[in-house]
Symmetry: C2
Subunit: 290 residues, 2 copies
């Protein structure tokens, strides 16, 4: 129910209006050939089509998607493409949709990717910053205060986590009240910390007793990487999405880089895994025209 926008990496989408109705995906680059070019099967096509439908236009769009987000990384790659598709088409049409409806259209991309139209990736990808999904029935998302100096390190190790396995682990069981209360207290203090701009408190609040213990075992070297992040001054450390990427907060770009370096070294020494590091500010803006 929480997500945030990274400054980088991000997908790029070229889009133009077309006289023929519907969505045509002209090309996809950067995906190693694994994503569908069929607009009905690709998240960017589904999100774009939903904007056309909501806008009630007879126009169509042609799209060129340049993937830069790593696939199956836990970084919300499909959410980034979905957000790009929805935002781009809304811009081309002169912004007929509200931001709220753009998020709903982007969620149609997520439905295509995972079967459920979840908003935890697309809402921050559209809106920027840190976004809370309070409720789906009715749908309500809330932008949270973003401290000016909030930085993040995300390390993407070169291994694969089965999303199906990661989901089965957390959905196929029930949880005890004391674990739940710990998470409730920490998510409440996380929001309080954002309001105060208290990054030390934010770091202490990154304590997940429900999901992290289950999914950590799917990430080789996770315990060593988390220890390395905290030892290097990281303000909290946990799993990005369903993994295998791992994130830590920091209060400056130099601290974020130092923490990221330590996490990469730990992935190498504990699990012989190479990785990519993305270190920078949490982005206050979401998908945008470039």
């Amino acid at each position: 129910m929480l997500g945030l926008a990274l400054s980088h990496p991000g997908d790029e989408l070229e889009a133009e209006l077309s006289d023929s109705p519907g969505v045509e995906i002209v090309d996809v680059t950067g995906d190693g050939g694994v994503l569908s070019r069929d607009a009905g099967q690709n998240v960017v096509g589904r999100a774009a089509a939903d904007v056309l439908r909501r806008a009630g236009t007879r126009s169509g769009v042609r799209l060129w998607l340049h993937k830069q987000m790593p696939l199956a990384s836990g970084l919300g790659s499909s959410g980034a493409s979905s957000a790009a598709g929805a935002v781009a088409v809304n811009e081309l049409l002169g912004r007929p949709l509200s931001e709220h409806d753009v998020v709903l259209s982007a969620m149609e991309g997520e439905r295509a990717a995972s079967g459920t139209p979840h908003a935890d990736n697309v809402a921050p990808s559209v809106m920027g910053g840190i976004v809370l999904v309070r409720s789906y029935q009715p749908f309500e998302v809330i932008g949270l205060p973003l401290p000016e100096n909030l930085h993040i390190s995300v390390v993407h190790p070169h291994c694969e986590v089965s999303t199906a396995e990661a989901r089965r682990l957390v959905k196929g069981r029930t949880y005890a009240l004391d674990e739940i209360v710990t998470n409730l207290g920490n998510v409440a203090s996380l929001v309080a910390a954002l309001g105060r701009g208290d990054l030390e408190l934010l770091g202490r609040s990154i304590e997940d007793r429900l999901v992290e213990p289950l999914r950590a075992r799917l990430i080789p070297g996770f315990d060593a990487v988390k220890k390395a992040a905290l030892d290097a001054g990281g303000l909290g450390c946990s799993i990005a999405g369903s993994g295998p990427s791992v994130f830590a907060f920091a209060d400056s770009v130099s601290a974020a880089t130092k923490v990221g370096d330590a996490m990469q070294a730990a992935f190498r020494s504990a699990a012989r895994l190479d990785s990519d590091l993305f270190a920078g500010k949490v982005s206050s803006s979401g998908a945008r025209v470039v």
Copy 2:
């Protein structure tokens, strides 16, 4: 992990220093004779003794407790007495303890009352306002922003809920992930609402899928009372503590009174229960010298 301070009712405690060490409870009034006069068995005595211990003093104290909080109501009656005991003795000694340590001493009263030293009642009773208990190990409480116009109606129906039964209901089972995520989203938005001063959002966030459905069945007429509160303009409605009291938020004293009247009428018509109404501001101050 969340609690708040009512403007009224509240217990009154008279306290004076004594040359003989330890705590003497001289008298207790307003309790119908049910509370122990033995300082080792009464929450106010236990909290007072813990302050003496922490302060390392050889002095003792004599206490007169005038109960005004209803017992076994869900309003934190034992927490109010515990807070009074800890704050009063700390004041008499010239405030040797920090607020943090006064809360810890008050928790010793709760340990005597319920077996576990929980802080959700005593922390707001000592500190005032709305308080989050983020963690017990290590112990950390956080005062949340208190909107100026936040009012509350609390209705205490004249019936009894077994605390043991109320606890057994929630502790003797486990919970599904989708219910948990709903509560996580709502507690996060509750804190965000306090930060924004958005009372409508605060009201929408009073949505408890975990505990309320289990404990509601112990309160005769609960569904009718909740509906009456919301129909009368209450900003959210749920159970106070383990019940049987029910609370609703409002944005003015007149709205709080109107909502409270509606809740009392519903207790009468749906369950033939008389009740007491406490309507007023959430108190920004906790236990204090009067």
